[in-house]
């Protein structure tokens, strides 16, 4: 994997800028969190990186190694090695679990252990049990796991995850966190938008705090505890609860 670099990214909806001048990097195999409250531009940043129809990107560059991704269609960006797990799961309702995984499967990149149906089933035993079930009938946690598993089947070098903890029970959040940590440990890069501190602690090596569409601060995971002010301001976590 090459270094993933976002520089000066500005994007918004219908002429209203939401993020302005985002700079961030993800080193090969690193796990980076974009933390911040609702409406600070986490989802907009990930969607803009992915090249999705909304938001409209007005400036900036998104590079994966030497390759400029900005301006390319989302399917070209995905093929460059970026997996995307959208907010709210977003599974295909009329496909079964097994079909979800088969339909997006792509060959692995040279030098990386391929994500195959067997390997994904090992990481997600719950999904293996439900292979023949329609995805729309899964629980929220299972749908989140399926969305992650689906992204892995494209054999990405970097996975973008948009608030994977959203709407899940604390116990399920822990399970999802374990899975993200496991795929990070396997060498896949991770860029996760998240406002759940436990998830951020569990998976991230480094954290960017987003505030009103710009990067307000950047710390390593080890430094998190020393910055109670940042946690208070950007995640609403009081020092006593951190």
């Amino acid at each position: 994997m090459s270094t993933f670099t976002v520089a000066g990214l500005a994007a918004g909806y219908q002429g209203h800028p939401v993020v302005d001048g985002i700079d961030l990097t993800v080193e090969p195999g690193e796990a980076v969190a974009l933390a911040g409250r609702n409406g600070m531009g986490k989802t907009t940043t990930l969607r803009a990186v992915m090249g999705l129809a909304e938001p409209a990107v007005s400036a900036g560059s998104v590079r994966f190694g030497d390759v400029e991704l900005h301006g390319k269609a989302p399917h070209h960006i995905a093929r460059a090695g970026i997996g995307y797990v959208p907010q709210g799961r977003r599974i295909f309702r009329s496909l079964t679990v097994a079909e979800h995984l088969a339909v997006v499967a792509r060959p692995a990149r040279a030098g990386y252990e391929p994500w195959t149906m067997d390997r994904v089933n090992e990481l997600f035993p719950r999904l293996a049990e439900r292979a023949g079930q329609f995805a729309g009938t899964l629980s929220g946690g299972e749908q989140q796991m399926l969305a992650i598993a689906r992204a892995l089947m494209t054999n990405p070098l970097l996975v973008l995850l948009d608030e994977p903890s959203e709407g899940l029970a604390p116990q399920i959040v822990r399970q999802v966190g374990d899975i993200i940590a496991a795929l990070h440990a396997s060498g896949v890069g991770v860029l996760i938008a998240e406002q759940d501190l436990s998830m951020v602690r569990r998976v991230a090596d480094r954290v960017y705090f987003l505030d009103r569409g710009t990067v307000a601060a950047q710390v390593t995971a080890a430094e998190l505890d020393a910055h109670a002010d940042l946690l208070e301001r950007h995640l609403g976590v009081g020092a006593g609860h951190a």
Binding site: H75, A78, Y84, R90, F92, S94, L95, A102, R150, A151
Partner: protein, 321 residues
Amino acid sequence: MNMRVTGLVVLVVLAVLLPYGVGEYWVGIATEAAIFAIVALGLNVLMGLGGLVSVGHAGLFATSAYATSLAQQHLDLGFATSGLFAIGVTIAVTALVAALAVRTTGMYFLMITLAVGMLVWGLSHRWSSLTGGENGSVSGVRPAGVTRYYQYYWLVLGVLVAVAVVLWYFQRSRAGMRIRGTRDSAARMTSMGYSPAAQRFVAFLASGTVTAVAGVLYAGYYPVVSPSTAHLSMSILFMLMVIAGGSSVYLGPAVGAIVLTVLRAAVSAETQRWATIMGLILVAVVLFAPDGISGTLRGRLRRRTAVPPQPAREPVAQGAR
């Protein structure tokens, strides 16, 4: 063999035996119904699998029927070679239309297919030196050994069964799954690395190819291919067959085609008001059986046997989300 397959085999055997039970007129109607069933199954690759509504399929159907007839007359080709020629021509036309249409969904997609249907109809009408205009183009060539009405019926029935089997595997193939995924959400599909336009193109091409096969059979069935084959009302009829039969049940569109063709034959014998009756049928289907005949029957059966239902499918026509 499970119950469903056994039931289908019994139905096919009964269909094969039909000429022993009814006269030439009804075997003719059954032949037409089987040809339309092929069109409806092909159209459902777009409508049911792809979530894209076409009101121009009569244009593709007529392109194939005219190409068959013209190849027989001007190139002196036999049934099989003219058929292959016509399928090739129709695939080329479909590819052209699809290339224009697949970047859109919903109303815009509908308008492009409508335009194509109207264009073929206009050409068949106006380019009379080639198409024979209102008089139509002479057709009705059948392969040697299949010239009698019941023999031709068996041929058409065989092709219908073959098309149904091939499309069954197609919709379960990776290409079919990708088309379903694109229908569910184009945005999700594109962020997984697959261009939604490419998936829609494949769906359109598969749909057009099956429609072309039906067009060839139609040219062998009718002695004349006329502009009415390409008319908008024909496209609407095909669409109605899919809706009335039920696009969410695999063989639903074929059921719709058979029911509407037989009904049209029965009603036309009594009154000129087939169009009115068809309109009333559409209203009744939309009000009382929105999942179509097959979908509603399946729902009743499921409730009675208390098998947990599959999740509801999303509506046929929808844009990218």
